[in-house]
């Protein structure tokens, strides 16, 4: 393991040329990531998901990705060709999307999909593959892995589908996992159980995790560090434990407008007042 960060992003821009003009989804985002849990928080349209996709070069034309530096473990991700990129995707960096309903292949059994993910990573005979796939299903706490291995995606619940996705993304043993709202379609208790699985993997395997979410409370309690995004820029970076001491008025506004169980409900919730100046305050 090197002293260098696992991922270094400097001045990342993503633009989309649309008939109505250029849309700048990400405008100069910089951060670096070690073997830690980094949260990216923002509302819809803040550019958080596009940032995640840009790292894996999954932004399709007319989207354009530019950066001063986009380096993963010493490799310049913008400098390599598509072939080399495919070696990195899945094997070294993988991504879990929000909704298992749209991310799993509906006409392929769960087992075959996981096995495929394993074989693409370039190792193992058939029997070995199945054994590994079953192990992985067990690692994400699926009770009856043999049954799930043979099942089709529509035969499993949403929570299970998301665990299957995670199993599939983790089987090549990636160094970095980008999880884009991986649990927001799930019930709270299942959500936390899935996060616990990710948490253990970060701790045990030394994996890096980018956790993209709109849920401030969850990120504050789950991640190590948090980036707050607004209008395609990073407004603030803080220690997750100290999110409550955040200084930027946007972060404060987001925290304040959450209803809370503990406090009284007599007053109206404070409403977030957006300041146009925030759009040029990125760090």
């Amino acid at each position: 393991m090197t002293q260098n960060p696992l991922l270094a992003v400097e001045d990342l821009h993503v633009d989309f040329a649309t008939p109505k003009g250029l849309v700048e989804a990400v405008r100069g985002v910089s951060f670096s990531l070690g073997r830690e849990k980094l949260g990216i928080v923002g509302e819809s349209g803040s550019g958080k998901s596009v940032t995640g996709r840009a790292i894996l070069r999954l932004v399709r034309p007319p989207g354009r990705v530019r950066a001063k530096k986009l380096e993963f473990d010493g490799t310049d991700l913008l400098g390599i060709d598509e072939r080399a990129m495919r070696q990195i995707r899945g094997r070294h960096i993988s991504m879990v999307m929000q909704d298992p309903k749209f991310s799993l292949n509906p006409v392929m059994t769960v087992g075959r999909q996981i096995a495929e993910a394993y074989r693409i990573s370039g190792k193992g005979a058939r029997r070995e593959t199945k054994r590994r796939a079953l192990e992985m299903l067990e690692a994400v706490r699926i009770r009856d892995p043999e049954r799930v291995y043979r099942a089709y995606p529509h035969e499993v619940s949403g929570g299970m589908g998301q665990r299957i996705m995670i199993a599939m993304m983790l089987i090549p043993n990636p160094d970095l996992l980008i999880a884009d709202e991986p649990t927001s379609a799930l019930d709270v208790t299942v959500q936390l159980q899935v996060l616990a699985i990710l948490d253990d993997l970060v701790t045990q395997r030394g994996m890096g995790l980018i956790f993209i979410s709109h849920d401030l409370n969850l990120v504050a309690s789950f991640c190590d560090r948090v980036l707050i995004m607004y209008g395609g820029q990073v407004l603030e970076v803080c220690d997750a434990k100290r999110l409550n001491e955040a200084k930027h008025p946007y972060t404060r506004g987001l925290l304040d407008c959450l209803p809370r169980i503990e406090t009284g409900s007599s007053a109206d919730l404070p409403v977030l007042r957006r300041d146009p100046a925030w759009l040029d305050q990125g760090i």
Binding site: L216, C257, I261, S265
Partner: protein
């Protein structure tokens, strides 16, 4: 105002039958906000659909505004009881203007002064008259949910059934919509039933709530009791713990309540 006694709803027949709601009872006084909380599949939305008449297959006894409800509901019922759905992207007709969406209930109920009512309804939910001739796709999620609220209120109902009204919205927009719903409730003296998976939203909006799991009410309590962490049922306690954020140690103690219900 609302009385639910021994309500059961099941889908399918024989061995394949799914009992979505199993004999639940509760009552809501006039002017009260009552929360129904539970995870997906707990039956909370089905209760609302049975109350609103969207799901005619139920058994038990339902009473609203002094009337015992049958399978079929008449126009007078819908003038009293309206519903707001979860997804403002799905609940508004994509090819109807806001004007047409709001004019429809007025026409159905043969009410007068459509023009004035539409402008007033838009005004009340914080949308100006400039939104009147737009289409839903020209509006943000929060604006659409305001239109859905305006559509429900244009008939001047007494009871509003809210099915996860803010779970598709960003938190800052959620705050605006929740404030709007609270203001309208005071102004118009409405009675709410709010279905949500979010305990914090229910704690903010309601006075009392029932926690549902697998079609049954496990516990009914006041929000004050919830705040004081007084719930006794282990399922409610687990839900409360989970709502407070990520806690690695607590997660290992989570139980699966599906089997025991």
């Amino acid at each position: 105002m609302i009385r639910v006694e021994d309500l059961s709803v099941s889908f399918g027949h024989g061995a394949a039958a799914v009992h979505a709601v199993r004999g639940i009872s509760f009552h809501v006084a006039a002017g009260e906000s009552f929360g129904l909380v539970g995870e997906s599949g707990s039956g909370k939305s089905t209760v609302l659909r049975a109350l609103s008449g969207l799901n005619p297959d139920w058994s038990g006894r339902l009473e609203m505004a002094g009337q015992t409800l049958g399978r079929q509901r008449d126009k007078a019922f819908y003038k009293q009881v309206q519903m707001v759905f979860q997804d403002p992207y799905g609940s508004l007709h994509p090819r109807h203007t806001i004007d047409r969406i709001l004019a429809e209930p007025i026409a159905i109920h043969g009410m007068d002064e459509a023009d004035r009512r539409i402008n007033r309804a838009l005004d009340e939910v914080g949308l100006g008259p400039q939104f009147r001739y737009r289409y839903p796709h020209q509006l943000s999620g929060g604006q659409r949910q305001r239109v859905a609220v305006a559509r429900a209120l244009i008939l001047e109902p007494k009871i509003l059934l809210l099915d996860e009204p803010t779970s598709a919205l960003d938190v800052s927009v959620q705050a605006e919509v929740l404030n709007l719903l609270r203001r309208l409730k005071t102004e118009r003296d409405l009675t709410y039933i709010l279905v949500s998976h979010n305990l914090a939203v229910v704690a903010h909006m309601c006075g009392r709530l029932a926690v549902m799991n697998h079609g049954a009410v496990v516990e009914e309590m006041s929000v004050a009791q919830l705040r004081a962490r007084e719930p006794v049922h282990p399922y409610t306690q687990q839900l409360l713990t989970a709502s407070l954020g990520y806690d690695r140690a607590a997660i290992d103690r989570f139980e699966d309540f599906a089997a025991t219900a």
